[in-house]
Every structure is written in structure tokens, then in C-alpha cells.
């Protein structure tokens, strides 16, 4: 099965927050899909870390480049 890559651009979103964009993409994703989120809100980093910890999905990469946060997530926890 080909891996599906979903790109979420949440740059510039402060209210209600980039985490809501991640959740939206997660709803439509299947186990095995990759979600890549771009965000500028500094609150995004702890949020995505907490989200990974609680939902049990896999964080492949989380980095900051010139004020832009990039999170690469593999969806694995759906039942």
C-alpha cells in the first residue's frame, strides 16, 4: 500500500491554533499515512509533543527552521 503524505500548512494561525489543523488532518488520515505540519505559532511545539504522547502516534521529525516549525507524524494509533 502506497504511503499517503498529507501536508498541513498552519503558518500564521494563532487563533484557534495550529493544533486544530493537525487534528483535522488526523481525522481524515489512515494508519500508515504521514502528516507534515508547518506552523509559526511557538505553542505548536509543546502541543504536538503532548499530542503524540497521549495519542500514541509516531513523531518522525520535529524541527524549527527560521521561525517555522515542521512536524512530521506517522499515523499509527487509530483503532
Amino acid at each position: 500500500m502506497a504511503e499517503n503524505r498529507i501536508r498541513v500548512d498552519a503558518r500564521g494561525i494563532a487563533c484557534p491554533g495550529p493544533i486544530t489543523e493537525l487534528v483535522k488532518a488526523y481525522r481524515n488520515a489512515k494508519n500508515g499515512d504521514i502528516i507534515e505540519v508547518l506552523a509559526t505559532d511557538p505553542g505548536f511545539k509543546p502541543d504536538v509533543e503532548a499530542w503524540i504522547k497521549r495519542t500514541g502516534n509516531q513523531l518522525l521529525e520535529l524541527k524549527e527552521e527560521g521561525g517555522i516549525y515542521i512536524a512530521v507524524i506517522k499515523v499509527t494509533a487509530k483503532k
Binding site: G12, P16, T20, A50, K78
Partner: protein, 396 residues
């Protein structure tokens, strides 16, 4: 005499009606089309659902538009941006010089298993008066057990609305003397009850104080109404007796060419400063119908309508991304969610004043739509005095 520019506005809600009423008719030939004859003041669904309000919450679009603005009651079936044409559901075709799409967003019940059944049973307060009335009936019939509100998915209209319902429900059950028999549970897919951290710092202590339980990271997958249990995508279960789900919303159901202006959930991509639909300088999208990164709320539609009206008149007006969402905290208290593109949400403390401002706004709503020339200076003064950059220095 120069010929007037033809402006077609699809949608007669807050954004569409305000835009039409802001355009000078000596310069523009303005036509508003809408599938419905009515303009709804959607925020009032909250008070139908949790206060049993019977105050009328709709008016005829025709009555709200300035004399001289044309209104056609017909849905738009398709929009051809390349050829500047709108085909109506009644078969007629309209040609335009400028197009403004203001079709809003609508709840969808197909993403969550068992959602429809739950709405038929307990209603919700993001779709219709009938469904809001069902919520009122459901909370009135609950004498003991669990009342649950679950944020079903994003986006939805009005970011504060899920918690507003929770706070008003808590006040309702306490006033009925049932608070020790009715447990209130609020579940969200986010890391905290309110997604934006500064506002969460205002509301989370209130939830604790009032004994309202909340569950974070709960991404609703399906609901089993027979067993009265809601299940998350990771298999976590939440038992309820009455359940209200905040429905995820989707964008327009019109056909649009080219199709690549639409996102996957049918919101229209646009420049966040000018509202120009991606790739088109003669077509705009305002309010909830757009995919610009700002909350789906009336104030956004209102401000964007002003910006687009000024742009059509040749001004280089730009959006600041300002939000100003009234937030009812129950017991006569309120706050506002205030932010813009450059400033995070302000930690505005609860006050009676903020609640009264929300109610005063609701009381004046129809007048604001009808007479923007009177209200624009009032709003300008208000927005200037409450800029998030200024408030952010006061409320830290």
C-alpha cells in the same frame, strides 16, 4: 456616463449583506443571491439551546439590503471564475465584473459514525433552530446522569461556542438544583479545553472551580447511541446520558471552476490580506466560506466585507486578521477572544461588561447590518481601542 460595475454577491448572511450595503450604488450594480430568503443570526442558537430563548433569530434578506440592491432568491449551482459567470439553480446565468462568495460553512454529519442519530435525539446548536430546540428539550428532561459536550472536529463556527454551551449547561443544572445529580463532561481533541493557550488560562480555572470534568486529546470517531458511549480514534470510551456534538463543518456545495481553488473540505483558498480568490483579481471570498487562517466567526466576515468593499472602490485596504469573539462564561460573565495575524490571543479576564457587550451586540445586530454607514465609525473606534497589541500589554 461610465457604466456601473456589476457585483454579484453569493450569500446574504453577515458577510454578504454587509458587503452589499457598504457599496456605493452610484458606482456599482449590486446583486445578492441566496438559496434561503432568510438571514440568520447564528450566535443566537446558543441561547435557544441553553436558555430556551424564543426571540426571533432570522429576518428576510430583502428587508436587510439597502434599497437599490437587487436580491434573487436562488441557490448558485456553479461558478466559472475564468469566464465570470454564475449559473443559478433556477437555470439563469449571471455575468459579473466582480464576484464575492459569502456562502458560509455548514455542519457535516458524515465524518463521525452514529452522529446523525445523536443529532436527531439530542440536537445541536450549530445547524438549525429546530436542533437547538432539541438541546433545550434534552437538558430539561435530564434529571440525573452525564451531560456531555464533545468537539467533533475542525473547523466549526465560533471557537468559543463549545465551552459557552458547557458553561451555560452548568448554570442551568445548578439553577434547577440538579448539579449534584448531573455530571458535566467536556471532551476536545486538543491538548487543553480551549485550543489557544492564553484564553485557556482564563477558562480552565473556571471549569475546575465549577466542577466540570474535561477530557483532552479525545478525537471523536464514533458514537453508539444504543450503549450511550462515544469512542475516540484511539479507542477511549466516554459514557453519556445526553450528548451534544459540535459538528465539524465543510465549505461550499457549489461547483467552482477552476476546482483547485478549493481545499479538500471545500473551503475557498484566498489571500489572507485581500480576500482575493487564489489567482483571481476580480473574485473574492469572505467569511466562513474562505480557507484563510482565521477563526470562523461573524466578526471575520464583517471585517473582511469592509476590506473588500474598500478594495472594490480602489483603496488598498488589507485585513489585520482581527478576531473579537464574544465568550459567554455563564452567570452573567463573559470575555472576548481577541487576536490578529501579528498578535496572539489576549488573556482578557472575565467581566460582567464583556457579557453585556455581547448581549448589546445581539440586540443591535439587525441595525448594524442594515446601516453600516452609522455603525462603521463605532466599530472602527472599538477595534482601535481594543487592538490586541495594546490589550496584550495590559493583560499579561
Amino acid at each position: 456616463m461610465a457604466t456601473k460595475k456589476r457585483v454579484v454577491v453569493i450569500g446574504g448572511g453577515a458577510g454578504g449583506a454587509l458587503l452589499a450595503n457598504n457599496l456605493p450604488l452610484e458606482e456599482f450594480d449590486v446583486t445578492v443571491i441566496d438559496r434561503s430568503p432568510y438571514h440568520y443570526y447564528w450566535p443566537w442558537l446558543l441561547y435557544v439551546a441553553f436558555k430556551g430563548s424564543k426571540r426571533p433569530m432570522k429576518k428576510e434578506i430583502r428587508e436587510l439590503l439597502k434599497p437599490g440592491v437587487s436580491f434573487i432568491q436562488a441557490g448558485a449551482q456553479s461558478v466559472d471564475l475564468n469566464n465570470r459567470k454564475v449559473v443559478l439553480e433556477n437555470g439563469k446565468t449571471l455575468e459579473y465584473d466582480y464576484l464575492v462568495i459569502a456562502t458560509g460553512s455548514r455542519p457535516t454529519y458524515s465524518q463521525i459514525g452514529g452522529h446523525k442519530k445523536v443529532v436527531e435525539r439530542y440536537g445541536d446548536y450549530h445547524s438549525s433552530e429546530e436542533n437547538a430546540r432539541r438541546v433545550w428539550n434534552a437538558i430539561n428532561s435530564l434529571k440525573q446522569g452525564t451531560f456531555a459536550v464533545i468537539v467533533g472536529g475542525d473547523p466549526y463556527r465560533c471557537p468559543p461556542s463549545p465551552l459557552e454551551g458547557v458553561f451555560l449547561a452548568e448554570e442551568f443544572f445548578r439553577a434547577r438544583g440538579l448539579r449534584d445529580k448531573v455530571k458535566i463532561v467536556f471532551a476536545v481533541p486538543y491538548p487543553r479545553p480551549y485550543p489557544a493557550e492564553p484564553m485557556n488560562e482564563v477558562v480552565e480555572p473556571i471549569l475546575r472551580e465549577r466542577g466540570i470534568e474535561y477530557i483532552t486529546f479525545f478525537t471523536l470517531d464514533r458514537i453508539d447511541e444504543e450503549k450511550k458511549v462515544a469512542v475516540s480514534m484511539e479507542g477511549e470510551e466516554l459514557k453519556y446520558d445526553v450528548l451534544v456534538v459540535i459538528p465539524p463543518h465543510v465549505g461550499t456545495d457549489m461547483k467552482i471552476a477552476p476546482e483547485d481553488v478549493l481545499t479538500q473540505d471545500r473551503f475557498i483558498q484566498a489571500d489572507k490580506y485581500t480576500n482575493n480568490i487564489k489567482g483571481f483579481d476580480d473574485a473574492f471570498v469572505i467569511g466562513d466560506a474562505s480557507a484563510v487562517p482565521v477563526a470562523k466567526t461573524g466578526v471575520t466576515a464583517h471585517l473582511q466585507a469592509g476590506v473588500v468593499a474598500r478594495r472594490l472602490q480602489g483603496e488598498d485596504a488589507r485585513n489585520s486578521g482581527r478576531t473579537n469573539c464574544p465568550f459567554d462564561l455563564g452567570y452573567g460573565l463573559g470575555t472576548f477572544v481577541i487576536s490578529d495575524y501579528n498578535n496572539p490571543v489576549v488573556k482578557l479576564p472575565p467581566s460582567r461588561f464583556s457579557h453585556l457587550a455581547k448581549i448589546a451586540f445581539a440586540a443591535s445586530y439587525w441595525d448594524m447590518i442594515r446601516y453600516p454607514e452609522l455603525w462603521n465609525p463605532i466599530f472602527e473606534a472599538y477595534f482601535e481601542a481594543t487592538e490586541p497589541a495594546k490589550l496584550g500589554r495590559i493583560y499579561v
